[in-house]
């Protein structure tokens, strides 16, 4: 049916501006767009298995992410931006995983086999996610991993007291269930050449992370007893008993990696651990949670100092002299520390630099690399200069696990298009492939109050520093439920809570009218199920007038139907109205004229 332009214009406006499909603040900020609002609320209703399934629709590592995800979602959580008390989204995810995860619930369905072969270099989160997505598309996937353990930096960077290894191992069994092959302990570039992979596979995903730590070239840096975070944490992770540190340990760095080094050093025998950062205390990039954990464990901080000279005796480090750092960034925001006159000397027998990790080439120089050793890629598609090769994760620009996963997924989408002979960019919703700012613009719920954030239980600091046993004990059930109930449910769909009939036909009006525009028509029953009560309009932040629009659509339908309503039930009205106007039932009784 052809509709008048005024109707089509209105439909277009709704399709475009309706906020019904806009993601919540948390979900938009998640690079994988996990439905945080969805599972948080399910936990609030004590539907923990449903919550777990909702998480697993998007991520295969709920227990891992629940423990160590950097949770950017919590920054953007409306309870944070309004009250500074975000929902404990990550901890709730862990709660769901600990309580309800069960391999019997895992969705291991795949598309029919394509006969195409994919190689993935690296078994960190980026490689694993790419492997999963490609396996689900029906491709034959093999992962090449240098180490004999899975998990990448989650395994050999993040310490065990934050992430027990059995959690990673259990969650990674999912890959095996999808038929993904593992070549463990095989280093690409050494045990097998990159060229060989390119030759033998239809696509190659490079996801070898950033595992090369470094010691800045300051005076004395050749002394013994100095190491970098990557090497130190890898050693601690693979066999903490073999790692020896002195009594006095200095960790240089202000990020979470520095916290991991400091807290691990305590656990392998150090008695005094000091963190020295370039940034002032309130500018340190380390998360509040990690700083707090370190302080509780008795770690000392000196903030606002940069390394000047490493002091030594007999070739062994015995201290460091620092110079006061007056500013870390220049006027343009570039890293360019400036120093003052003041000095600080600290003693130590072990010195660990947690000042960043760079990418090591796994392609025998085949791929071009840029800053931090990262491969040069097309940011949108992650394609490299070689047609069939894509890069993902830290080696392609990510910095945290969930980003690595999103990049892994992105690379898989590109690889899959490449395998199907499709254009890599055409009709692709790039926005949904990474995080973005939520465009939701809705008022706070009327009854919203500032309620305190709930925290998980933790082991006593005095006890926990004796071993690598997990510090965070997670939520108790009733606390998790209460925390879930704090969610402000940041979605629009206000009309959907008011209108019964819309729910019978759509998830939100934007979707309904998008379909209307696409199909060029709408079921008469939809237009004729509107009570014309304007309840939707009262609550709609866009004040869309659906009663008017459905009224206009009805008029067009009547016009196209010889002046009659298309609804069979309206035949009776015709009669009714005829009678309502007939002489027999009407009267005009004029007064005052006798």
């Amino acid at each position: 049916m052809a509709y008048d332009n005024s109707v089509l214009d209105k439909a277009r406006e709704i399709a475009q501006d309706c906020q019904g499909g806009h993601l919540s603040f948390c979900s938009a900020r998640c690079p994988m767009h996990t439905d945080a609002m969805g599972y948080v609320n399910l936990i609030g209703e004590n539907k923990v298995t449903e919550a777990l399934l909702k998480i697993r629709e998007v991520v295969f590592l709920p227990g891992t992410l629940g423990r160590i995800c950097a949770h950017p979602c919590e920054d953007k959580c409306r309870r944070n931006t309004e009250y500074g008390q975000p929902i404990s989204i990550a901890a709730l995810k862990r709660y769901a995983a600990d309580k309800a995860d069960d391999e019997k619930l895992w969705n291991t369905s795949k598309k029919p086999a394509t006969g195409k072969k994919a190689a993935v270099i690296g078994c960190g989160p980026a490689g694993a996610q790419a492997a999963i997505d490609l396996a689900k598309e029906g491709h034959d996937v093999t992962i090449y991993e240098k180490l004999n353990v899975v998990g990448g930096m989650m395994r050999v960077g993040i310490p065990e007291y934050r992430l027990p290894r059995n959690v990673i191992d259990f969650e990674y069994t999912y890959l095996g269930k999808l038929g993904i092959q593992f070549k463990m302990g095989v280093e690409v570039g050494k045990d097998i050449s990159f060229d060989e992979l390119v030759k033998n596979y239809d696509v190659v995903i490079v996801a070898n992370g950033a595992h090369k730590g470094f010691v800045p070239p300051i005076k004395g840096s050749e002394s013994e007893g100095i190491t970098n975070a990557a090497d130190f944490l890898r050693a601690v992770s693979l066999d903490n008993k073999s790692v020896k540190v002195g009594n006095n340990v200095i960790v240089v760095g202000g990020g979470d990696v520095a916290m991991d080094c400091a807290r691990s050093a305590l656990r392998v025998g150090a008695t005094n651990v000091t963190v020295v950062s370039l940034e002032k205390k309130d500018e340190m990039p380390a998360s509040d949670h990690e700083q707090h954990g370190a302080l509780e464990e008795g770690i000392t901080f000196h903030c606002g100092w940069g390394g000047d000279e490493i002091l030594n005796a007999d070739g062994r480090v015995n201290g460091v002299r620092f110079k006061e750092c007056t500013s870390v960034f220049d006027a343009d925001g570039r890293f360019s520390p400036a120093y003052g006159e003041n000095k600080l000397e600290l003693e130590c027998d072990t010195l660990i630099f947690a000042t960043g990790q760079v990418v090591e080439d796994a392609t025998d120089g085949t791929l071009q690399r840029g800053g931090g050793g990262r491969y040069s890629v097309d940011k949108q598609t992650l394609e490299t200069a070689i047609d069939k090769v894509f890069a993902a994760g830290d080696c392609a620009g990510g910095t945290i696990v969930i980003e690595a996963m999103a990049l892994g997924r992105k690379a898989a989408i590109s690889a899959n298009r490449f395998l199907a002979g499709q254009d890599l960019k055409a009709d692709r919703d790039f926005k949904m492939e990474f995080h973005f700012e939520s465009t939701l613009d809705i008022p706070l719920p009327e009854d919203a109050q500032d309620l305190p954030r709930k925290y998980t239980n933790a082991l006593d600091p005095k006890e926990r520093i004796k071993s690598f046993v997990e510090c965070d004990l997670g939520f108790d059930g009733d606390v998790a439920e209460e925390e879930g109930q704090r969610c402000l449910k940041c979605e629009c769909k206000k009309c959907m809570t008011e209108c019964i009939m819309l729910n019978d036909f759509t998830q939100y009006p934007g979707e309904m009218f998008e379909k209307f525009l696409k199909d060029g028509d709408i079921e008469p029953l939809v237009a004729y199920s509107c009570n014309m009560c304007d309840q939707c309009t009262i609550v709609c932040p866009e004040e869309f007038k659906f009663a008017e629009l459905f009224g206009a659509i009805r008029r067009e339908m009547v016009k196209a139907n010889n002046g009659e309503s298309p609804m069979p039930g309206h035949k009776a009205i015709k009669m009714h109205q005829r009678l309502g106007f007939s002489k027999f039932f009407t009267v005009v009784a004029k007064g005052g004229k006798k």
Binding site: G551, E564, V587
Partner: protein, 255 residues
């Protein structure tokens, strides 16, 4: 004083012609030269989407009002209130706003003081913006001596539809019934007072106990165990008989 015409609408005469007659008698005591027009305003035709037919029918009604030389239309139906407001050359006033100004028949004031009923007030969603009507209804209930309560957060400008609007009942009866039931669930008490006969029908259908405000004014005092009046609107034969009866009663009341 400007000349007035009273329009009872469609649903009220079909539901209870005695109420129509009683209103006219009361109004005539105050406005002796009152006229009365019983006719549909055409809203159903409009709701169905028959634009041309609606224009024609509505124009006929405006003619009738003009033929009474009336400057003010007093309406008892909220749809009429909105439809008639579109016409020119007269002013539209709701009966529910007028009654507080002219008062109820004296003998009825305070008649329900002894009733144990607390009425939940249902506002018609078509007049969410008409505060005067909401106030008027509450004034009437109070004047009669009944206790009353609003459905919290769902009264006046936030009133929810009774389910009857938009001609949905014949088109999608299942949806309509669900809307009706939800509205009944909004009310904090069992007894509901409405000021539209169609709303009343909706609530009876949904299993609620509802009275029209004029039932309270002119009918017997309602007690906790009084059953609501029968749902004549759902019986077409009775409804049309009532509408005809109303016409006759109007004629005789105007004689």
């Amino acid at each position: 004083m400007s000349r007035k015409v009273f329009l009872p609408g469609c649903a009220l005469p079909s539901y209870n012609p005695m109420n129509v007659e009683a209103v006219i008698k009361h109004l005539k005591n105050i406005y002796p030269d009152l006229s009365v027009v019983q006719k549909c305003c055409g809203k159903p035709t409009q709701a169905v989407g028959q634009a041309a037919k609606f224009e024609e029918r509505f124009a006929g009604l405006v003619e009738d009002i003009k033929s009474c030389e009336a400057e003010e239309a007093i309406v008892a139906c909220q749809s009429c209130m909105k439809t008639l407001a579109k016409g020119k050359g007269y002013k539209t006033t709701s009966l529910w706003e007028l009654l507080p100004q002219i008062g109820l028949p004296k003998e009825l004031v305070g008649k329900a003081k002894g009733s144990d009923v607390v009425f939940s007030v249902h506002d018609s969603c078509s007049v969410r913006d008409y505060t005067g009507i909401h106030d008027g209804i509450r004034w009437i209930v109070n004047e009669l001596g009944y206790k009353q309560v609003d459905p919290e957060g769902r009264a006046r400008e936030k009133a929810r539809c009774c389910g009857f609007g938009g001609m949905v009942v014949p088109a999608n009866p299942d949806v309509a019934l669900r809307v009706m039931k939800r509205r009944v669930d909004d009310f904090p008490t069992e007894h509901i007072v409405v000021y539209c006969a169609a709303c009343r029908q909706s609530f009876i259908k949904a299993g609620g106990k509802a009275w029209h405000i004029l039932d309270l004014v002119f009918g017997d005092v309602v007690h906790a165990n009084t059953p609501p009046p029968e749902d004549t609107l759902s019986k077409p034969l009775k409804a049309w008989r009532n509408r005809y009866r109303s016409k006759q009663l109007i004629k005789s009341a105007m004689r």
